[in-house]
Amino acid sequence: MDFNLSEEHLGVQKMVREFTQKEIAPVIKEYDRKQEMPSFILPRMAELGILGINIPVRYGGQGFDYITLGLVCEELEAMDSTLRVIMSVHMGLNSMAILQWGTEEQKQKFLVPQAKGEKVACFGLTEPGVGTDVAGMSSTAKKDGDDWVLNGEKMWISLATKADHALVVMLTNPDAKDSHDRLTAFIVEMDSKGVTTGDIHGKLGVRAGSTGWIAFQDVRVPDANRLGEEGEGFRIAMSCLDNGRYTVGAGATGLIRASLDASVNYAHQREAFGREIGKFQLVQQKIAYMVQSYEMARLLYLRAGWMKNQGVRNTRETSIAKWFATDASFQAASEAIQVHGAYGYSDEYDVERYLRNSKGAVIYEGTSEVHQLMQAGYALGYRKDGPLRKELPAYDAEFWQEEK
């Protein structure tokens, strides 16, 4: 067993950290207050290659492995969740799904520009009335000649107003006996007639990010844009979540680290009763728990990343990584505020933003409650992961790095 990261991993980690500290740290508070996404972020991440980090070079990406994606997400969210959310939707939920399920034509048409960062991608599953109960969705796609006609609304969609492409899951066969066969996935070009979008304001956290809605009114999508088979949408959506949750878990690990680092710094600076507060045992206890959480969350996501590299199904392992890290990040951020005392309650320090940002991830991509049910289901033998028609391809350095 080898716990070492490679030189490549460390190099990417360092580069992304430098980017966030130099370019995001000076402006993030201002944009968080304004509830506005900095306009330079997406083009800059594209230019640096971050938006295609783990996609094969032949498909326009940078050719790194899935562990690198996790490390990138950890670095991004150690600065602000907004940045990691971009990777969750653009890469985890959309681009990786096209890599896994797409035809060669779909990869050339959609994945290549996405990996190059020329096009931005998002993912639409949740609806105003449907979250966890995916199979109960009401947005429909009806076959009409060689096209599908989409109607309905998707809600809580990150990058809804920024994306060029959306991977959406629609109800296509409401009469199917098995509710899991009722859905189909489509790639929608967002400039299609009948697509409208908007941003949602007043969120608790991720305020410098873009979260919105997408409405479909008689939107025609060619059958060539159908991802996977008809009726395969539920299974595709769940496989997307295996990748999205991975980025969320890795990112939340970064948020724990940020809370820990901020607490350690403050505990050294702040004095009470003639001593720095780090000398007090109850402050030490909070810091010790943050260290424990960080180490555990990191090991859990790296294991999931390693399994992805090996091409081994990792739904269970990714779920536990996401569940643990997001719960722990909420706890760590809350305790970081406690370490900072009254100052932590103001936006003079970053920790209040960490707490606000951490809560979303406990809800999206499977609430903590859903992950508890999943883990109990595995343990009790009620839940087993069947094989998929197409699995996420194992990382093959040669194939990934070859020009073509």
Binding site: S6, E7, E8, G11, V12, K14, M15, E18, F19, L48, G49, I53, Q62, G63, F64, Q401
Partner: protein, 258 residues
């Protein structure tokens, strides 16, 4: 065009440098590429992007200097070379002799580029000493290279000096030292990171360079920590603002601050 950039591994800027038992130490603080050298790499890369050619990163120091060289490779340098059996000492003329010999061994070099200085020794003379060893002109504090003609072997540079900007014409080959104004160093690219992680860095010895080190002429006879400053706080108070201000002024006069 062939450009050599001198790369040095130094303690991180956040490292706390202290003296212990007469020796300078920064404990286990991480070592990084000298931040000024990143500007030198940026200048070299920009020049080859404009005029063609290759950039070779050259370091003299311990094996750990590989890390700094790999950073330079990841930024886009074509090759890296390490001269490793000489441990840098405060006598920069010795380092300069090694660097000059390495540049001669590389051969056909048009420009050697240094950062303005290194953040550990802060001497800012190694570049000029290397130029002296090579018999080349030394163009220091370069903020821009508005003209360069490799075939005609001419170069025009702008120097950032206290009085403003000074334009200097020179001939190639030459040694340059680069200041911040040249341009923000680029991040290592992902492709560069991969290339750097796989790169084989040749290691040269003094024997390979065919030189012997001159005797040390500069040494640190005695090094000590600066005396600790005693800082005390006192809050000046009075019944009115005027009284407080007068009391504060009296104290400032008494302490000879005013």
């Amino acid at each position: 065009m062939k450009i050599v950039v001198r790369i040095k591994l130094v303690p991180d800027t956040a490292a706390k440098v202290v003296v212990e038992d007469g020796q300078v130490t920064w404990g286990d603080a991480p070592l990084v590429i000298n931040p000024w050298d990143e500007f030198a790499v940026e200048a070299a890369l920009q020049l080859t992007e404009q005029h063609g050619g290759e950039v070779i990163a050259l370091s003299v120091g311990e094996e750990s200097s590989r890390e700094a060289l790999k950073h330079a490779l990841a930024m886009g340098c074509n090759e890296a070379i390490l001269v490793s059996d000489y441990v840098i000492d405060p006598d920069t003329q010795r380092t300069a002799k090694v660097l000059a010999a390495a540049v001669e061994k590389i051969g056909d070099v048009d420009l050697v580029i240094f950062g303005k200085q290194s953040i550990d020794g802060d001497n800012a003379v190694t570049g000029t000493q290397t130029a002296r060893n090579l018999g080349w002109p030394s163009l220091t504090l370069v903020s821009a290279v508005p003209a360069l003609d490799v075939d005609a072997k001419t170069i025009r540079i702008e120097r950032a000096v206290e009085e403003g900007r000074q334009v200097v014409d020179g001939v190639l080959p030459a040694v340059l030292s680069i200041v911040k104004d040249y341009g923000e160093p680029r991040y290592p690219s992902f492709i560069g990171i991969r290339k750097a992680s796989k790169a084989e860095i040749p290691v040269w010895s003094l024997e390979d360079l065919g030189i012997e080190l001159p005797n040390v002429v500069v040494s640190w006879s005695e090094i000590m920590n600066p005396p600790q400053r005693e800082v005390t706080n006192e809050i000046v108070q009075g019944d009115s603002v005027e009284e407080t201000a007068a009391a504060l002024a009296d104290k400032l006069f008494a302490e000879k601050v005013l």
